[in-house]
Symmetry: C2
Subunit: 360 residues, 2 copies
């Protein structure tokens, strides 16, 4: 078929122009006679690709020289261990906010390396809201405060950045990195698996305030030691070069779209359209507190679960792919990352309208 | 330029037909309307890609069902920690053979997790040979015996598989995996960073005897726990899907070439041609004990180091790329992995002949 609208939560759709450029450069990058994936990571050509990607990311996200930007491997799930191994230092415990499945995974892994204080949780509500910060049981002597700005599975997103005082704030931004403007200076560490808003899987971007480097537990694997990775410009060993290159193409594309400010406006419009439609149509429902509905991941249910398969089949036939909800939640989920064009949301709403009219 | 002959030690040249297929499938894999890098790793399509790659690798390398095949991230350098974390178990020490820079890196990292007994070393000879196994100080109660079958930087390769008795044999095959036939049943663990003979960087393939699973140290990061990765078919989290796909294309290409037997014959012929030329020409030299010269990485020096830059410049002009030796060794290095066609070796020898005649 021609290019479909792919609503997958991750790995996710990429900008078509990025894929076209990658295709055109596959056998010969700018007259070098090599694919980017065949280049030495220490070659002038690849170092330029790598440095340009970092520079563009710094410009897009507003990352000052107080921060190191790392291009690592292993996904956010590896960071769940890397964070406590590097940041607990002499302190024995860290604060975590539990707002869903990804928070819980981060908490479970950190608990293997130190004491985790779950300072707030919305589990009792079925993760349909974010607890007000005034109710959080955070501590001034915590090694850090970890939270999950967007829960990809639940479709729950913070509309504020927590105030952590002097405690370093750590955020798993895998699913909403670069989706709207952000004040990076409020954070100690931001990490993001690439496969939603940045590029292909196999790459994880880490933005870390430099004063937090150098505190790794002595048993930290060298490849997980932020100081080592920073000191070697993410090339202590061979990095995921092709993924890094593709991330760089996505950053160029983002800049051409007007950067994260323009992207945030588009993402808000896309989300408002879909939630507005769902709220206005009795056949569909979304359970999340409207204030904290994710701009990136929109779960929704049909009035009759027995129609789910038929809904998905019809969607597939129209090139509206991967709308099936996560197995732990059921129903449907439409992920609306940066690379999902507004026309994709329009096409989805048109189909949902038609389906509800015919089968609702 | 047109496609060059790329002698890079890694990331390294890939088969042109593989790159062409990847290019052609970039925007739409088999009518799905998606690139492989946009697919959910849990989709039917990607699971088929992943399983086919594993099946082809098992067939190529002769891997029985006694072994798990894992597709991990972080490169061989991450395995340097993963191996002791998973295999030391209740034992406190492991045996390592030191034959060069990569052996030393593996030893240094393992020493952080347990006692390392360097059972043999060729450091005194400048890593120009492999000590006879009869001289090794290995122990029957070691947790495992680790060696580096091919030293990518030194250009030193074992021509035998060590006999480790009942002790699990562990090998870093990053630079000679699938380059010739191998009896996998002699090994406990084989690991290989992909970026030489398998695919792009960002993927590391691990072949592990199943009885060695389940012994990880309690502080092992979950993403480094072989048992967890095996139990989840390498999809505990999102794997490096695009690299996995490309590895699968390389495996198909290897099968079409006649598999590792045919590849070994070609690789031997390529290496013999180049070493034969070097030995016959006073202008070039290789310092390695002829018995242990690597088929994959051929370091050589010019009679006059002052001509190195001119040699490299002339080579580049002819599309013979990345011949500069590793900074720790100097001189030149030609890497002749599976994807380097014999015609590339012929072109290199023709250039070396001409250069020696004109400048020697």
């Amino acid at each position: 078929m021609s290019r479909a609208y792919n609503f997958c939560a991750g790995p996710a759709t990429l900008p078509e122009s990025v894929l076209r450029q990658a295709r055109d450069e596959m056998l010969d990058w700018r007259g070098t006679g090599m694919s980017v994936m065949e280049m030495s990571h220490r070659s002038d050509e690849f170092v330029e690709i790598a440095e340009t990607a970092e520079k563009d990311l710094r410009e897009l996200a507003g990352v000052s020289s107080d921060y190191a930007v790392l291009f690592m491997q292993g996904g956010a799930s590896s960071q769940f261990a890397t964070i406590p191994l590097n940041l607990l230092g002499d302190q024995s415990s860290a604060d975590y906010i539990n707002t869903g499945i990804w928070s819980k995974k981060a908490i479970a892994e950190a608990s293997r390396y130190g004491q985790v204080n779950v300072a707030a949780s919305s589990e009792a509500s079925g993760f349909t809201t974010i607890p007000e910060q005034s109710t959080w049981n955070t501590r001034n002597d915590a090694a850090y405060l970890h939270y999950t700005p967007n829960e990809t599975i639940g479709g729950l997103e913070y509309d504020f950045v927590p105030d952590s005082g002097a405690v370093p704030l750590v955020a798993d931004m895998s699913s909403n990195m670069l989706s709207r403007p952000l004040d990076v200076s409020k954070f100690g560490v931001i990490y993001a698996g690439a496969q939603k808003n940045i590029g292909p899987s196999g790459l994880v971007v880490v933005i870390i305030r430099k004063d937090l480097l150098g505190k790794a537990h002595k048993e930290t694997p060298t490849m997980m030691n932020y100081q080592v990775i920073a000191d070697n410009d993410s090339m202590y060993n061979t990095p995921a070069t092709y993924s890094w290159y593709l991330a760089g193409l996505v950053f160029k594309w983002l800049k051409a779209q007007g950067g994260v400010k323009a992207m945030g406006e588009t993402n808000l419009r896309k989300a408002q359209k879909l939630y507005g439609f769902i709220d206005a149509n009795d056949f569909y429902a979304n359970p999340i507190d409207p204030r904290f509905r994710s701009w990136m991941n929109v779960p929704f249910t049909l009035a009759d679960d027995g129609l789910n398969d038929e809904f998905l089949k019809g969607a597939n036939a129209r090139g509206l792919l991967n709308l099936k909800g996560h197995r732990s939640v059921g129903g449907m989920r439409a992920s609306l990352y940066n690379a999902m064009p507004e026309a994709g949301v329009d096409a989805l709403i048109a189909y949902m309208t038609e389906f509800a009219r015919e089968r609702g």
